[in-house]
Symmetry: C2
Subunit: 222 residues, 2 copies
Amino acid sequence: MSRAVRPRAARKSAEERAAEIRTGARDVALEGGLWAVTLRSVAARVGVTPALVAHYQPNMEVLVADTFTAVVAAEMAEVAGIVEPYTSPTDRLAALIHTLIETARDDVTTVWLDGWSLGRRSAPLATAVRAQMDAWQHLVLGIVDDGCSTGEFTASDPQTVAWHLLGMVDGLSAQGLVSYRDPAARGRLVTDALEHALGLPSGALTAPAGASATTGCSAARA
Amino acid sequence: MSRAVRPRAARKSAEERAAEIRTGARDVALEGGLWAVTLRSVAARVGVTPALVAHYQPNMEVLVADTFTAVVAAEMAEVAGIVEPYTSPTDRLAALIHTLIETARDDVTTVWLDGWSLGRRSAPLATAVRAQMDAWQHLVLGIVDDGCSTGEFTASDPQTVAWHLLGMVDGLSAQGLVSYRDPAARGRLVTDALEHALGLPSGALTAPAGASATTGCSAARA
DNA sequence: CATCTTATTGATCGCGCGATCAATAGCAAA
DNA sequence: TTTGCTATTGATCGCGCGATCAATAAGATG
């Protein structure tokens, strides 16, 4: 089905075509993992010859690495956007955990796993993975630090707490991809652990109702 | 270097050769990950023709899955052996965490990551991964359950605690493969979290000195 | 309209992969 | 020694991969 023979692709500006290829690669990765991002698969998705895809990239290693970055950075931006409207660090952290654990996207998790696995054989991908892990650490650390200065959190080493959270999220997400567990139970696991790590009262990190810190009213940026 | 031309392989019994191939595949996996387990690489390691390796296996998918199982099960047996001589559940758990976190083997972690990643494209591997995750869960759960009946541990849901521990270990191991963190700090992270989850006094799960529960004497099975 | 630039292509290479199969050669039994 | 079984091989197929490059054609420019 669908176009046995393909008409010659419309001529576009280099920038535009490059963008198309980037998003094409992104789509392929979300659908089949980084492993599926190949010269031919991306070309087919964009509606173009493999040679053209190759023409726009130094080599596939960097396209894969860039695609990883694009997918992961986009998700992080999304999460950051969800968290941002909350004002208190506690609510922010609660929202972050809730989003990360209970609305986790399997496609993104797959990309992470592929990144870890393939990263052992691709230097560009390895550095991309490292960079994204650092970015996440930075995001979480910012919230934890805020909470510490506010006095809401009590942590001797915020760095370690951030690391703790991300470690749990990564591990549980990977597991969740293989064998099902109740997302709510997963969420409780993480919130319990973090409430303890931050000296919070039990239940403080369960999903916040609305946007603002104290009252549960007003929209949470849809 | 080393044998440009290979002499004809010595004739061996089918069982013996099959065993050779299994351990050959295991070695390849530990050295280069599951990704490196290929007809030709295993054949080269065993000193045999690719055709012979193929002859002994229904297909590569199952050899890879079996190799995953072999590597992971061997490590679990090793850990179980280290933990076993300790008598109290607390010490057992402490020894398990210590072994798992601070003496973690990168080669085995790589195999785990490849298993998660490649398991999304190989049904036999996927079930093998699932089985090994269950086996680990079983091992940890046994210890936690023991501790609960003893009264040493206080946990509403031992299943969840075991899951909690394994989630952290998986996540932190994966992270450790990419970006370095002090193993001792990693260990503290896990012990702290678990002491809290099990209602233990702080420090109860730090590495045990010797084998027996109460006194620190006697050999811990080298 | 003619010319130039450049986005796009088709053809093709070499590679490593899994897999198959008739031919071979080592070993044991007769 | 001869025969028979079977472990082992060499040759070979088809595949999808990344990569390269001269040829082409679509627009922009004059």
